[in-house]
C-alpha cells in the first residue's frame, strides 16, 4: 500500500508494509524502513514541511588549499574573471597527480552548479577532464561531477550533484581535481570559477540537520549490522529498540533468521523463489550488462510454393527462388504486429534490383511478393532508397534512390514516391516528383521515419542528385544536401521544417548523408546523429520534437569522448526501443576505403535516453581469421556496410540482412546472410537457479564437515540439479566442489569473523551474497564497520 499526501505545503510519501509482532507499524519513510507505534495518526507523525525552492545565487568562497602552483599562476587568480589576461589563472606546477584546489564556502550552502571561465583564445592548459568533489569536511567528500571542458573561449556551467534521493545536502568545501589537460604534456590551468547555489540559512539549516541525522542513522545501521554479524544479540536488540531504526526490510530479516540462525535452507529457497516471482530482482537485472547473441537464420527451403509469387517462369534455378539474393543498399522494415520483415530492392554488385520479399518469423520462411515491382505499377529497380512502415494501417512507403553519375543525365531526376498496401498487395504512385509538390528533391542515403499516430512521415538529409554539368571540367560542383521535411499522409502534402543550414543557431540543423534517424513513438521526438558531409564526419546528436517544432542539441560532437561514444566514420545502423527508452547502434565497416582496416569488427552500443549516456555492449577488435568454420565467424556477422538492421521492439529482436563486406579483392561481392540478434541480460530464471545453487553449495559444504557421505549424495543429486551442465564454466566449478569433503574446517574462516562461531560466520557471508540481488532500498548497508578502521 502506498500513500502520497499533500496537504498545503506539507508533503510526504508513505508506504505501509505491515505490522510486526510488537504491534508497531512498519513503514518506508523517506527511503528508510522505520518502526512506528501503531495507533498514532500517521499524518501527524510523518508530515514534513516542503521547502519552497528558492532561487540560486552566486556563492562566496575562498581558496583553502592547493596542490601546487607554478610561477605567478596563483590559486587566488580563479576568483577574478579576466579572459584577456593570460596570467589571470591558476596553473599547477606539473601534471603529475595529485593536483587539486580546495575551495571553502563562506557558509554551508547547497552547491547546485559550477561555472568555469576561460581565456579569450583556445589554450592547451584547459581541462579536458576533471572531477569536482564536495562535502561538509575536507576529509569526507563525495563526487559531485565528472566532466571536461571544451577547448574554446566560452564559459561553461555544469550542474553538480546536490541531492540524495530528492533530499538536498549542503557542502562547506568544494574540491576541483584536474585529471587531464588538452595538451597531455602541459600543466593544468583554471581561469575563473563561480559557484551557484542556495545560501539561505532557512533552507540550508534543515538540510544540515537532515544530513547530520542521516549520517547518524547510517552509523547506527552499520553498528546494527556489525552486532548481528558477531551475534551480539542483546546489543543488537537493545540498539534497535532504542533507536527504532530498521537495519533492512522485514523480508530480509526473516531470510537472515532462517538462513543464519535456523539453518533452514529449504525455507530460504522458498523465500528467494517468492522474491524472484514478485519481481524484486528486476532492479538488479536492469543494472546488468547486455550480452549479444547473434544467430544466423537459415530459412525453410520451399521451392516454388510461396503464396504471392508472380513470375512462375523464372530463369533462376533452385535455391534462389525462395530467398532474396545477395545485395547491398537495400531496405528492410518490420511489421512487429505480424512479425514480418519486408525487404525491397538493392544493388547486387552489377545492377539495381526490384524484387520485394517478406519473411515470416513464425514460419521461418521467405516469400517473394514480387520479382519486379515495376511491372506491378510499383517502383523501378533501385538502391539507397528509404522505406518506412505504418504498422497500424499496414502500408509501406518508399522514397529516393541512387543514380550512378553515368546515368544521371539520361534518366529522369524526378523523386518518385510510392506506397504499398500490404493487404491489398498493390502499389500506388503518390507522387511523380515530390520536389514539384513542395517536398524533397531526388536524394539518396537520406533517412525516413513513420509517425503512425499522427499519420505523418519525416525525411531528413541525403545528397541531392543533380545533372552533371554540361561543361567538361573535372571539378564537381558543391554537393547539396536535403533538409528536414514532413509529409502529411492524409492530405498528401509536404512541408519543409528545416533547411540545410551550416549556422550554429539553436534551431538550425546541418544536413548530411549516412546518418541515423529514429522516431520515438512515446515522447514523439526524432533522434538524429552521425553522418557525413562530403569528407567531414559529423558526430553531433540532436533531437527534434515534432509536435513542438523544436530542436534540442544533445551533443554538439566537439567533445572528443573517444572510446565513450560510437566512433564516426564507421557505418552505423540504429534502432530504437521506446519502451526501454534505448537506442541501439551497430557499428561496422567504414565506407571509406582509407579507413578500412583488416581487423575492424562490429561494435554494438546502447544509448540510454533518460540517463543520456552511451555504453558499449561489445567491441570486437580481433583480426579476422580467414579460416572457414572458425568460431568467431559463425558467432557474429562479419563487419560490413550498406546492410540493413531492423528491430522488433515487442519481442526485443534485431534482424540483419546482407550488405557489402568491402573486400578489395572482390569489389562486386555482396552478402545475403540473414541474422537475428538478441541482447540478453540474466533472466529471472537464471538468477533463481543461481541463488539456489549458492544455497545448496553452501549446504553441501556445511554437511561435508560433519557427514561426508551424506554430503556427497547431496552433491550428486540436489546440488547437481542447480548446475547447467552444458555450460563449461559451471561444470568446471561443480567438479571442483568435492574437494570440500577433504578439507579441514580451519580453511574456511572468513576474515573479520574471528570471535564468531564458524558456521554462523559462513552463513552470514552467504546471506550477504544473496542480499546483493535485492534492491538497495531493502538491504542493509553495503559497508562494514571494521572496514572503517585504518592502520
Amino acid at each position: 500500500m502506498c500513500y502520497q499526501y499533500e496537504y498545503g505545503e506539507y508533503g510526504v510519501t508513505v508506504l505501509f508494509l505491515g505490522q510486526t509482532e510488537a504491534n508497531t507499524l512498519y513503514c518506508l519513510f523517506k527511503g528508510r524502513y522505520r518502526f512506528f507505534p501503531a495507533g498514532l495518526p500517521l499524518l501527524v507523525i510523518l508530515c514534513n514541511k516542503m521547502a519552497v525552492v528558492p532561487d540560486s545565487g552566486v556563492l562566496t568562497f575562498s581558496i583553502f588549499k592547493w596542490s601546487s602552483y607554478s610561477s605567478t599562476y596563483l590559486p587566488e587568480n580563479i576568483l577574478v574573471d579576466k579572459p584577456n589576461d593570460q596570467s589571470s589563472r591558476w596553473s599547477s606546477e606539473s601534471n603529475y597527480p595529485p593536483q587539486f584546489l580546495i575551495l571553502k564556502l563562506e557558509r554551508p550552502a547547497i552547491v547546485q552548479s559550477i561555472t568555469f571561465g576561460k581565456y579569450e583564445k583556445t589554450h592547451v592548459c584547459n581541462l579536458k577532464k576533471f572531477k569536482v568533489f564536495g562535502g561538509m569536511s575536507e576529509e569526507n567528500m563525495t563526487e559531485l561531477l565528472s566532466s571536461g571542458l571544451k577547448n574554446d573561449y566560452n564559459k561553461e556551467t555544469f550542474t553538480l550533484k546536490h541531492k540524495i534521493d530528492e533530499q538536498m545536502f549542503p557542502c562547506r568545501f568544494v574540491k576541483i581535481v584536474p585529471l587531464m589537460s588538452w595538451g597531455p604534456s602541459f600543466n593544468f590551468s583554471i581561469w575563473y570559477i563561480e559557484l551557484h547555489g542556495i545560501e539561505d540559512p532557512d533552507v540550508v539549516q534543515p538540510c544540515l540537520n537532515w544530513y547530520s541525522k542521516y549520517r547518524e542513522q547510517e552509523a547506527i545501521r552499520l553498528c546494527l549490522k556489525h552486532f548481528r554479524q558477531h551475534n551480539y544479540t542483546e546489543a543488537f536488540e537493545s540498539l534497535q529498540k532504542k533507536t527504532r531504526i530498521a537495519l533492512e526490510h522485514p523480508m530480509l530479516t526473516h531470510l537472515h533468521d532462517q538462513l543464519v540462525l535456523q539453518g533452514d535452507f529449504d525455507v530460504c529457497e522458498e523465500l528467494i523463489d517468492k522474491a524472484v516471482r514478485d519481481g524484486l530482482f528486476n532492479q538488479y537485472i536492469s543494472q546488468q550488462e547486455y550480452k549479444p547473441r547473434w544467430s544466423q537464420i537459415i530459412p525453410k527451403c520451399n521451392k516454388g510454393t510461396s503464396a504471392q509469387e508472380v513470375n512462375r517462369d523464372d530463369i533462376n534455378s533452385d535455391g534462389d527462388d525462395n530467398r532474396p539474393g545477395m545485395r547491398g543498399g537495400h531496405q528492410m522494415v518490420i511489421d512487429v504486429q505480424t512479425e514480418t520483415v519486408y525487404l525491397f530492392g538493392g544493388w547486387d554488385g552489377t545492377q539495381d534490383l526490384a524484387d520485394f520479399w517478406a519473411y515470416s518469423v513464425q514460419e521461418n520462411q521467405w516469400s517473394c511478393i514480387s520479382r519486379d515491382t515495376e511491372k506491378e505499377s510499383g517502383p523501378s529497380a533501385r538502391s539507397c532508397h528509404k522505406m518506412c512502415i505504418d504498422s497500424q494501417r499496414r502500408q509501406i512507403y518508399t522514397l529516393g534512390r541512387y543514380l550512378d553519375s553515368s546515368v544521371r543525365n539520361s534518366k529522369s531526376l524526378k523523386s518518385d514516391f510510392y506506397r504499398y498496401d500490404i493487404d491489398a498487395n498493390t502499389w500506388t504512385l503518390l507522387s511523380e516528383d515530390t520536389s514539384a509538390d513542395g517536398g524533397p528533391k531526388l536524394v539518396f542515403d537520406h533517412q525516413m521515419c513513420m509517425d503512425s499516430e499522427k499519420h505523418m512521415i519525416y525525411t531528413f538529409g541525403g545528397r541531392i542528385l543533380t545533372c552533371n554539368g554540361s561543361v567538361e571540367d573535372s571539378r564537381t560542383s558543391e554537393p547539396q544536401f536535403s533538409g528536414l521535411y514532413a509529409y502529411h499522409c492524409h492530405a498528401g502534402t509536404w512541408s519543409l521544417l528545416r533547411e540545410d543550414s551550416c549556422n550554429a543557431g539553436p534551431e538550425d540543423v546541418q544536413s548530411r548523408i549516412g546518418h541515423c534517424m529514429l522516431f520515438h513513438t512515446r515522447n514523439r521526438c526524432l533522434y538524429v546523429f552521425g553522418g557525413q558531409r562530403s569528407k567531414t564526419y559529423l558526430n553531433d546528436f540532436f533531437s527534434y520534437d515534432v509536435d513542438g517544432d523544436h530542436v534540442e542539441i544533445i551533443s554538439d560532437g566537439t567533445k572528443k569522448d573517444s572510446g565513450m561514444v560510437p566512433m564516426t566514420g564507421f557505418t552505423q545502423r540504429a534502432t530504437i526501443d521506446p519502451e526501454l527508452n534505448e537506442i541501439h547502434v551497430l557499428s561496422g565497416l567504414s565506407k571509406d576505403k582509407d579507413k578500412r582496416e583488416e581487423n575492424v569488427r562490429n561494435s554494438f552500443w546502447i544509448y540510454d535516453i533518460a540517463r543520456n549516456n552511451w555504453s558499449c555492449v561489445y567491441k570486437n577488435d580481433q583480426t579476422v581469421k580467414e579460416n572457414p568454420g572458425k568460431a568467431l565467424q559463425e558467432e557474429e556477422p562479419c563487419p560490413r556496410f550498406a546492410h540493413q538492421l531492423v528491430y522488433d521492439e515487442m519481442h526485443k529482436v534485431h534482424y540483419l540482412f546482407g550488405g557489402n563486406p568491402g573486400k578489395s579483392c572482390s569489389p562486386k561481392m555482396r552478402l545475403d546472410d540473414f541474422w537475428s540478434l538478441k541482447l540478453c541480460r540474466p533472466s529471472k530464471e537464471y538468477l533463481l537457479r543461481h541463488c539456489k545453487y549458492l544455497i545448496r553449495k553452501y549446504r553441501f559444504e556445511e554437511k561435508a564437515q560433519s557427514e561426508p557421505l551424506s554430503a556427497l549424495k547431496y552433491l550428486q543429486n540436489d546440488l547437481s540439479l542447480t548446475v547447467d551442465h552444458a555450460d563449461p564454466e559451471e561444470t568446471k566449478e561443480f567438479q571442483l566442489l568435492p574437494s570440500a569433503l577433504f578439507k579441514s574446517s580451519s580453511d574456511f574462516i572468513p576474515l573479520g569473523f574471528s570471535d564468531v562461531d564458524q558456521t554462523y560466520a559462513q552463513r552470514t557471508q552467504l546471506f550477504d551474497t544473496l542480499v546483493n540481488f535485492f534492491p538497495d532500498s531493502m538491504t542493509p548497508p553495503k559497508g562494514n564497520l571494521v572496514d572503517l578502521i585504518t592502520l
Binding site: S71, Q86, S91, V124, C125, G183
Partner: protein
C-alpha cells in the same frame, strides 16, 4: 649542414626565455627574419627544444608560403611561443636560409646574448661545435643538447633565413 654557411657563423647565440613565465626555452637561439616577410623578426634554433616546449593543435599553412607548420607552446605556462616547420615548401627550400626548423615569435620571448667561455666576448654560432659532435659542450646549460637530427627532413636545407 645547419650552420655551415659563413654568414651565420658570426651571429650571436642567444638564450631564449618564455616572456610569460620566464622559464628557459632554449640556449641555442639565432636572431633571424622570416623569408616570406622580412619585416618579421624571430629567433630560430636547430635542435628541437624537447623538455621546454611541446606541440599544440595540428598542422597548418599560412598564406605567404606552403610550408607545413605546427605551433609550439611553453610547457610551463602553455602559451604559444612559436612554431615548428614540419615540412618545408619548395621555394623556401631553394632559397638562402639558416636551416633551422624551430622558431620563436619575438613577442613571446625574451632573449639574452650568451657569452663565451671567457665571459668577456659574445658567444657566436661559429664557436658552437657541429651537431654531430659531442653533446657536452656547455656543462652549465640546463638544457641537454641532444644530437638528434629531426628525421622528417632527411638533411634538407630549409625555411627561414
Amino acid at each position: 649542414m645547419s650552420t655551415s654557411n659563413a654568414n651565420f657563423k658570426n651571429k650571436c647565440v642567444t638564450q631564449v626565455n618564455c616572456i610569460f613565465c620566464e622559464s628557459l626555452l632554449c640556449t641555442r637561439g639565432m636572431k633571424a627574419v622570416l623569408l616570406a616577410d622580412t619585416e618579421i623578426e624571430l629567433f630560430s634554433t636547430d635542435i628541437p627544444p624537447n623538455r621546454t616546449v611541446d606541440f599544440v593543435a595540428s598542422c597548418y599553412s599560412t598564406e605567404s608560403c606552403k610550408c607545413k607548420l605546427r605551433d609550439i607552446a611553453c610547457l610551463k605556462c602553455g602559451n604559444v611561443v612559436g612554431y615548428h616547420v614540419v615540412a618545408p615548401c619548395k621555394p623556401c627550400l631553394l632559397s638562402c636560409n639558416n636551416g633551422h626548423f624551430w622558431m620563436f615569435n619575438s613577442e613571446a620571448v625574451s632573449t639574452l646574448n650568451r657569452l663565451d667561455v671567457t665571459g668577456l666576448n659574445l658567444l657566436l654560432w661559429g664557436d658552437l661545435p657541429e651537431l654531430d659532435d659531442s653533446e657536452n659542450e656547455e656543462s652549465e646549460s640546463p638544457l641537454e643538447e641532444e644530437c638528434i637530427r629531426p628525421t622528417e627532413y632527411h638533411g634538407v636545407h630549409v625555411t627561414c633565413f
